[in-house]
């Protein structure tokens, strides 16, 4: 996983609530193997007409937002389906951090596993950030993971919380499976004790 430390750049306001993962990645694109195609898959049916032409009104199709690296969105971002392709879409577009009042649990975890940082900030703070970004298209923001601070377009600093182990993994770009393999002994001991306490759970040999 690519490490995440401090990210600065153009922030795009996605001024709506309930952007579910069906919107972030329409189902038919779940077949696509991870790769560059995901740049155009993010929010595809919002961004493109049925004939494949762009919808010029949609914010992600406008300059300077095509260069956005941060998205600020309404509540319940990423609820719904477990599809990790929703995260692939954001990453493919170039977005490495999403700021919202709350996130669907599965999307939140999927993001952390891919080096995309989901940042929870209070609803009124998110509303303010969206207003500021709409007023100044192309304004930049900073997401500082070591300090756990978001700096808004006006320079105001907003502290955020992130789970300590997830933070450590992101900062170092740690590989989770390799990390877990250090617990191989504990896993083996668990399996032995479970086999004697709950023998009916063991697969039939």
């Amino acid at each position: 996983m690519e490490p995440f430390t401090t990210l600065s750049g153009i922030a795009v306001p996605l001024d709506e609530a309930n952007l579910d993962t069906n919107q972030l990645c329409p189902t038919r694109f779940n077949k696509v193997a991870k790769g560059p195609r995901f740049r155009d898959i993010l929010l595809h049916d919002r961004r493109f007409n049925a004939d494949g032409s762009e919808k010029p009104d949609y914010i992600l199709n406008q300059e300077p937002y095509r260069q956005a690296v941060i998205a600020v969105a309404g509540r319940n971002f990423g609820v719904g389906s477990s599809r990790e392709t929703a995260v692939f879409g954001l990453m493919g577009f170039g977005i490495r951090s999403v700021i919202a009042p709350n996130f669907g649990d599965i999307f939140y975890n999927n993001s952390l596993k891919n080096g995309l940082l989901p940042v929870r900030l209070p609803g009124p703070t998110v509303e303010t950030l969206i207003r500021q970004l709409l007023a100044r298209p192309g304004a930049t923001m900073t997401v500082d993971l070591p300090e756990q601070v978001v700096t808004g377009p006006d320079g105001a600093r907003h502290r955020f919380e992130v789970a300590p182990l997830s933070r450590k993994r992101l900062l170092r770009g740690l590989d989770e499976i390799a990390h877990t393999q250090e617990y191989a002994g504990a896993i083996r001991r668990f399996e032995q004790s479970q086999a004697s306490a709950f023998p009916w759970l063991q697969p039939a040999s």
Binding site: V79, R83, G104, D105, I106
Partner: protein
């Protein structure tokens, strides 16, 4: 004093680090969409730790058109869809993972066929590469949906890192009225707490209404926990649970059954155990529900009217309502019972079980479909049972189309989908924009309500059709 959730969680802790717990996973369910997991296993040369604890189902991409199934996988015309099904076959063969796929009498949706096999047992930790894995918690276990990276981690290590969720108890008491089903009750819960109402929580459903439900009804309730944002939905195991589990292929037999049963009886929440949050619902106050908008909390009793954004006092909600109505092509204040539908879909992991098909058939007997109506059993097992009871003949006599088992028009990825602008009365679980096909419009409801809409060609209160025994 511990809750059911506490007991299951605590008995699966392998290790702790900082704020996270390494949990042991007893069973992992996957499907054709799990290709990203196998891509990573291949790329990194990883082994599957316990292939006998992983179970694969062909459901998302498999066709439900009987002619396509009869033609065989090799003759499936869409190469991309065929590829997804073939990938699952190749990958499960390569790693020695059990597959319930094309041509197998046990094939079906992972959340319907899995419980039929007896894979979902009290007290276990089960994960699935699908958000509706919360379904299995109906058996008194901890079951939740995960993404592709987490699935890769599980199959490689048989464990998963998790932050402990809070607990939410939803107590449902009272006797539901005529025509009110488990689907109406869970839609009423979601309308009450919202699609984000249970984010960060594991839900336990309790109360007399839940206690009286069949396992199939309990699965419908737990299935939609994720539509309220809940990580998991659980119900304490009881005699209903044990009766369902007896003599299933993967449940213990003989002395092992007795030992398992003794353990299962220790699982229900201790009286007085504390929950992080409590919600109550009176089942007697619930009417048959339909959704009118573009997420599952936008639901109302069928006796209601389309909301008027101008009368909504909350500014944020006003905007959301207006957008939802624009997408759904609806005018404010129209009675919900006046909304005409183009198609009807009966099936899915929410409502594709035998009880659901019986309820739909009881209504289908009363008339004839006036719009195209599909009945898609949740599994081959459900299909055989329904045919043994003659339900398929009731459906076909009423002009409903009887199809093969799969996810079909719920996830709309196998070619079964709405055309832009089409409006569907659906027993599935999500009415998100484009969920049943780009531009498609979905109204969620119970199987009986969907069958009633098929006969009338518009949303209708099933209680008006009579049919009470």
């Amino acid at each position: 004093m511990k809750t059911l959730f506490d007991k299951v969680w605590d008995s699966h802790v392998v290790a702790r680090e900082e704020d996270e717990t390494l949990l042991y996973v007893d069973r992992c369910l996957i499907h054709e969409g799990s290709r990203h997991t196998f891509d990573t296993l291949h790329e990194r040369g990883l082994a599957v730790a316990h292939p006998d604890k992983v179970f694969a189902f062909s459901d998302h991409y498999i066709p439900t058109d009987p002619r396509a199934r009869a033609g065989g996988l090799a003759n499936l015309p869409d190469p991309e869809i065929r590829n997804m099904i073939e990938l699952l076959e190749r990958n499960t063969d390569e790693y020695g993972i059990a597959r319930f796929g094309w041509g197998d009498a046990r094939q079906g949706i992972l959340h319907v066929a899995g419980p039929e096999l007896g894979l979902s047992q009290p007290g276990i930790a089960l994960v699935g590469a699908d958000s509706h894995t919360s379904t299995h918690g109906a058996f008194g276990n901890l079951s939740f949906g995960i993404g592709a990276s987490e699935t890769t981690h599980v199959v490689a290590t048989q464990t998963i890192w998790q932050r402990r969720p809070e607990t939410l108890r939803i107590r449902i008491d009272g006797t539901p009225g005529f025509g009110v089903t488990a689907k109406d009750i869970i839609l009423a819960v979601i309308a009450k707490i919202g699609i984000g109402g249970a984010i960060g929580y594991a839900i336990e459903y309790a109360g007399s209404t839940i206690a009286r439900m069949s396992m199939n009804e309990r699965m419908t309730v737990c299935n939609m926990s994720i539509e309220a944002g809940g990580r998991a939905g659980m119900i304490a195991p009881d005699e209903t649970t044990y009766q369902f589990l007896a003599d299933r292929p993967f449940t213990p037999k003989g002395a092992a059954w007795d030992a398992a049963l003794a353990f299962w009886r220790t699982l229900p929440s201790d009286p007085g155990a504390a929950f992080g949050k409590e919600v109550e619902l009176d089942a007697a106050s619930v009417a048959p529900m339909v959704t009118w908008g573009t997420n599952p909390e936008q639901a109302l009793p069928i006796t209601g009217r389309v909301p008027d954004p101008d009368r909504e006092t909350n500014a944020e909600r006003r905007g959301e309502y207006a957008k939802a109505l624009a997408y759904m092509g609806l005018q404010p204040n129209v009675p919900l019972g006046d909304i005409a539908v183009d198609r009807v879909f009966i099936g899915s992991c929410t409502n594709g079980r035998i009880d659901d098909l019986r309820a739909a058939a009881a209504v289908a007997k009363l008339g004839r479909a006036v719009v195209p109506t599909w009945v898609v059993p949740g599994s081959e097992g459900v299909k055989r049972q329904a045919e043994a009871e003659g339900l398929d003949r009731i459906f076909t006599a009423a002009g409903f189309e009887w199809r093969e088992a799969g996810c079909s028009m719920c996830t709309a990825i196998n070619g079964d989908q709405l055309t832009p602008g089409e409006r569907c009365a659906s027993t599935s679980n999500r009415n998100f924009q484009g969920r049943q096909g780009p531009g498609g419009r979905t109204h969620l409801m119970s199987p009986a309500m969907a069958a009633a809409a098929a006969l009338r060609g518009h949303l209708v209160d099933v209680r008006e059709l009579g049919g009470r025994n």
